[in-house]
């Protein structure tokens, strides 16, 4: 009755129709979806097209072919490099999840009053510049860096024999990646431990379980989704990492991501092969994301 009249005040309707930009679903979703389709999906589709030689940097005839894919799947070089990246990312992710678990446990379950301040203290470095934190390690690990010159200065090591394995090595890549991602990993674990019902632990204790048993049988299984999420949150981005290895990795820290970049570089660009490598990486990451999707749900975003 009256409500519909209020919503369509006849006097204003004609004059201001063009202004009645109301928040209908298409109005709300149109722009965000269009943006993602044009600037996210379409670019990926173009990379896929390059990988099948539908597009090419080379002049001359070209059309759909699987040559680049065939070469890639039969090349030991690229696949070995991919495997090296997988192993390195797995190692880094596993180590920092193990390190982050006790941190999150302490924050969530020790009953400290300052837990949010401490959590912020832990997370804050992650929210500062990525590149600058890599730079810090370059300054620290170099042959003339903080660690080595400190060792020379204190006489623990002679300046002729610096610890040269510190920088430009696989070790440096792992250390820096671990340093960068550690604060972030603690977060999902903290969230899962924080939501744990303490009464379950009390019940376990009342029924005679030791703390260790209660941890093994109650806390750990219930926090596992957070652990899996934490693991993937590091594994996925580090798998294609190229910035850290190019700054601190040297030759032995050269990873799959660096190979992709170099195939699009100025030296000898090979966009077809580079596209294959990129789409392959995307496929692996996409498959992981779909398989583990239920662990990656960022809580309330996918509500319905």
């Amino acid at each position: 009755m009256a409500l519909s009249e209020v919503h369509d005040p006849p006097a204003r309707l004609g004059r201001r129709r063009w202004l009645r930009l109301d928040l209908t679903t298409p109005t709300l979703l149109g722009l965000p979806l269009a943006w993602l389709v044009v600037f996210f999906l379409a670019p990926i589709a173009i990379v896929a097209a390059y990988s099948f030689d539908v597009y090419s940097l080379n002049p001359g005839p070209h059309g759909f072919t699987l040559t680049a894919w065939h070469d890639f799947l039969h090349s030991s070089v690229y696949l070995r490099l991919f495997w090296k990246s997988v192993k390195l990312s797995l190692t880094v992710s596993a180590i920092i999840v193990l390190l982050a678990y006790p941190l999150a446990y302490y924050l969530a379950l020790s009953g400290t009053k300052r837990k949010y301040i401490l959590l912020l203290l832990l997370i804050a470095p992650f929210l500062t510049s990525y590149l600058l934190r890599v730079l810090a390690w370059k300054v620290i690990l170099g042959n003339q860096g903080a660690v080595n010159t400190f060792l020379f200065w204190t006489g623990l090591r002679s300046p002729d024999h610096p610890l040269s394995q510190l920088l430009y090595s696989r070790f440096a890549v792992m250390l820096v990646l671990g340093y960068i991602w550690l604060p972030f990993v603690a977060l999902p674990i903290f969230v899962s431990l924080e939501s744990l019902d303490r009464r379950l632990l009390e019940a376990a204790s009342d029924l005679g379980a030791s703390r260790l048993q209660a941890f093994r049988r109650v806390t750990l299984p219930l926090s596992l989704p957070g652990v899996v999420a934490a693991f993937l949150f590091v594994f996925i981005p580090t798998l294609g990492e190229f910035v850290t290895p190019s700054l601190v990795g040297g030759a032995s820290g050269y990873l799959y991501g660096n190979q992709i970049v170099d195939l699009f570089g100025t030296g000898f660009p090979d966009w077809e092969t580079g596209s294959v490598l990129a789409i392959f990486l995307l496929g692996v990451v996409g498959a992981l994301t779909i398989v583990f999707a239920r662990f990656l749900q960022p809580g309330e975003v996918t509500v319905d």
């Binding site: 943006w35 993602l36 020790s110 929210l127 934190r133 699009f264 509500v303």
Partner: protein
């Protein structure tokens, strides 16, 4: 008896926590120390106190231009991302429509794409459609990667607020737009501000994607990356690093504290 931790266990974990915090902040402190060190090579022993490197970077026109470019890009892309994120978040939280989970998956998917893949995708895209690389192409890429972050902040907040307030306004004759302006927006201002800050810092710091689509005006991270190859520039880069790191730590802490205070106030208002 505490069921989760023994006294000694808690002590042990506290010590471990402290150790990790030292590990996290030590590199930043070392940069801070070297930024005041009177030597062209950042090494021990320290050779004296100086402000020279700070003066030098303040007088460096390339660096200033790069900071300015990054500021412009971060401002444009964070506004863009917040607008897109807000539109999408309203649809996801206030509307029913077919394919909602697919839509939210698409909007969040930039979170998991390796940046190297997204970077070359944009490079090939702009190459194919014939758009020259510029500040604008970086902004476009940064909006894509920031939208999911804005959603992660805005959607939970929109789910928190009481829909009956909006329904009341709507029943009283306000249009949806008016309802949004007068009821919803004021309630989510803190979340909008933190979404904006997250998008801004994401863009300001972003190297990987920008490195593929940047034009002749380089951004701050790209300037830094190339400066790292020249040892003579290292000390002033360290000085800049200290300024940026300390500033961003302050902003992060202030934003978080501010958000907490404001939301607590809202919570008490809503419950009363």
């Amino acid at each position: 008896m505490d069921v989760a931790l023994s006294k000694n266990g808690a002590r042990l974990l506290r010590a471990f926590f402290a150790l990790v915090v030292v590990f996290l902040y030590a590199p930043i402190v070392i940069l801070l120390i070297f930024s005041f060190n009177n030597s062209a090579v950042p090494s021990f022993p320290l050779s004296g106190f100086t402000f020279h490197w700070y003066h030098e970077f303040l007088a460096n026109p390339d660096l200033k231009a790069a900071l300015e470019t990054s500021g412009i890009i971060a401002a444009l892309s964070s506004v863009g991302a917040v607008v897109l994120g807000l539109l999408a978040a309203m649809a996801l939280t206030r509307r029913r429509f077919v394919g909602k989970s697919a839509v939210s998956a698409l909007l969040l998917s930039p979170l998991v794409i390796p940046y190297v893949v997204f970077g070359i995708s944009l490079l090939l895209f702009f190459h194919t459609v014939g758009v020259p690389r510029s500040v604008l192409t970086v902004v476009i890429g940064h909006i894509v990667i920031s939208v999911p972050y804005t959603l992660l902040v805005l959607v939970p907040r929109l789910n928190q607020i009481d829909v009956s307030l909006e329904e009341a306004a709507f029943d009283l004759g306000a249009s949806r737009l008016r309802t949004f302006r007068s009821i919803t927006l004021p309630l989510i201002v803190p979340a909008v501000v933190s979404a904006f800050l997250i998008a801004f810092t994401t863009s300001f710091d972003e190297y990987a994607v920008a490195s593929f689509v940047v034009g002749t005006r380089v951004t701050f991270p790209i300037y830094l990356y190339s400066a790292l190859r020249f040892p003579s520039q290292l000390p002033q880069v360290i000085a800049v690093a200290v300024v940026v790191l300390v500033l961003s730590l302050v902003v992060v802490v202030a934003a978080e504290v501010g958000r907490r205070i404001v939301e607590r106030r809202f919570a008490s208002l809503e419950s009363s």
